[in-house]
């Protein structure tokens, strides 16, 4: 009962914040509010017993996505100059969409119904067989890395694609061939360097954030966490460092060739584990063949691919951040 009340409160807040985002003309306000939106969403996920997702949403939605939006705002515009809406098409389309969904979900199982079909098919099998077949306590990690490892492989390559996309769009060289040395976002965050307190406290926190990221990486089998969250956390630590010390120092700490290499290496590791399984006589991504004992093989496979995921995600986030912060206004 308590969770339902709390959930109601959070969901209502979500709607309020979303409306506020829609109404504001100031893009900075909108970006800040969308950070808050993600944070409330993360809290809500936690209430709904999805700890892994909550962690990911908090790091990626509220942390990294906000920083990326700010980086883009520094290079584009501060205000939304959309003309007043003259057409009724958007309103009708979106209302129709909402109407259809509400109409359909009137027959959906209520929240938390233990007899819902989703809890009767497939999912119980995971909960039953994970201790036997894979033997890691966190079932989410088991499903993510092994049962549906092919999805996760695809996902790593989605991030990889985004990274090469951003790099080919905002790479070092412009179409005209000139190099950019001083980035606009760098300049704007530069004044943070002259403030002692944020700088000292920020620097003090960086090692702990990175440490926490590593903990999440290697503790992902036992508690909430795994490669995605860890990669994003480590990247958040490095980004914080770049913010308080200036982008140039940040790029000294993690050079761009290094983060770029990390991206490709992570994706490569994942694919290579899959191919190695094929070479050792199993199917693609069948980790059981990696060792004499199938369960041990699964552990090894999960460790390796989580490392690949962590490397890719951390590399991608850092690379994309640098790509935005390095860019100067033309």
């Amino acid at each position: 009962m308590m969770t339902i009340v709390f959930s109601l409160f959070l969901l209502t807040m979500l709607v309020i914040v979303a409306v506020a985002i829609l109404r504001t003309d100031n893009l900075f306000t909108a970006v800040m509010l969308s950070g808050i939106f993600s944070l409330i969403m993360a809290a809500n996920f936690f209430v709904l017993d999805a700890a892994d997702v909550a962690l990911t949403e908090a790091v990626i939605g509220a942390g990294i996505s906000t920083v990326l939006f700010l980086g883009a705002l520094a290079l584009t515009a501060e205000h939304d100059h959309s003309p007043p809406v003259g057409s009724w098409v958007p309103l009708v389309t979106s209302s129709a969409l909402g109407g259809v969904i509400i109409f359909a979900t009137l027959q959906a199982p209520r929240l938390g119904d233990p007899n819902a079909i989703v809890h009767k098919h497939v999912a119980p099998w995971y909960l039953e067989n994970t201790p036997l077949l894979i033997d890691v306590p966190n079932v989410v990690t088991a499903v993510l890395a092994s049962f549906r490892g092919y999805d996760t492989l695809g996902e790593v390559f989605v991030v990889f694609t985004a990274c090469i996309g951003v790099m080919s769009l905002l790479g070092r060289v412009r179409p005209r061939g000139e190099l950019i040395e001083e980035g606009e976002f760098d300049k704007r965050t530069d004044n943070l360097r002259h403030h002692l307190i944020p700088r000292v406290v920020g620097k003090m926190l960086v090692p702990f954030i990175v440490l926490f990221g590593l903990y999440v990486q290697f503790h992902g089998d036992f508690g909430p966490g795994g490669g995605f969250q860890a990669g994003a956390l480590v990247a958040a630590g490095i980004i914080l460092y770049s913010l308080v010390e200036g982008g140039a120092r940040g790029r000294e700490l993690v050079p761009e060739w290094f983060s770029g290499m990390l991206v490709a290496l992570g994706a490569f590791t994942y694919a290579a584990v899959g191919v190695a399984c094929m070479v050792m006589g199993g199917r693609f991504l069948d980790y059981s063949v990696l060792s004499h004992d199938p369960v041990h093989g699964q552990h090894l496979g999960i460790l390796l691919i989580e490392a690949g995921v962590g490397m890719t995600v951390a590399g991608v986030m850092i690379t994309i951040f640098h790509a935005f912060s390095r860019r100067g206004i033309r």
């Binding site: 700890a51 990294i64 989703v118 033309r330």
Partner: protein
């Protein structure tokens, strides 16, 4: 009480509407992209709402504890994937927005359309 159990889905519908409206009605590219990310987050809410079981906990099996009820792990895995896909799309779209600003000098779609019309 029955409707209260469906409140999640209603919020999902409302967020979807707000997101889609923002995408369609705003001509500012960054604003549309914020709308797009709300649109995507709404879907996360749909999936995660499905995973809850009354009296359940996060699906982490603890040794020595019997008869625990766990939330459904599958939607969580799917949404972990979807969140990462979402940020990838956003990052790429923002990079395109930056390049559009550099090429056109504005990120208002209606103005860009005018500029493209006159050769």
């Amino acid at each position: 009480m029955a409707l209260l159990g469906l409140y999640n889905y209603f919020v999902f519908a409302v967020l979807l509407m707000i997101g889609l409206y923002c995408v369609l009605a705003r001509t500012n590219i960054v604003k549309s992209l914020i709308g797009l990310s709300i649109f995507q987050s709404a879907v996360f809410l749909l999936y995660i709402s499905m995973d809850k079981v009354d009296g359940g906990t996060a699906p982490i099996i603890q040794e020595g504890v019997e008869n625990q009820v766990f939330a459904n792990p599958l939607p969580q895995v799917l949404i972990l994937t979807a969140i990462v896909v979402g940020i990838s799309t956003t990052a790429l779209a923002l990079a395109v927005a930056v390049r559009i600003k550099e090429a056109y000098g504005t990120i208002e779609e209606d103005k860009i359309q005018e500029m493209d019309r006159e050769p």
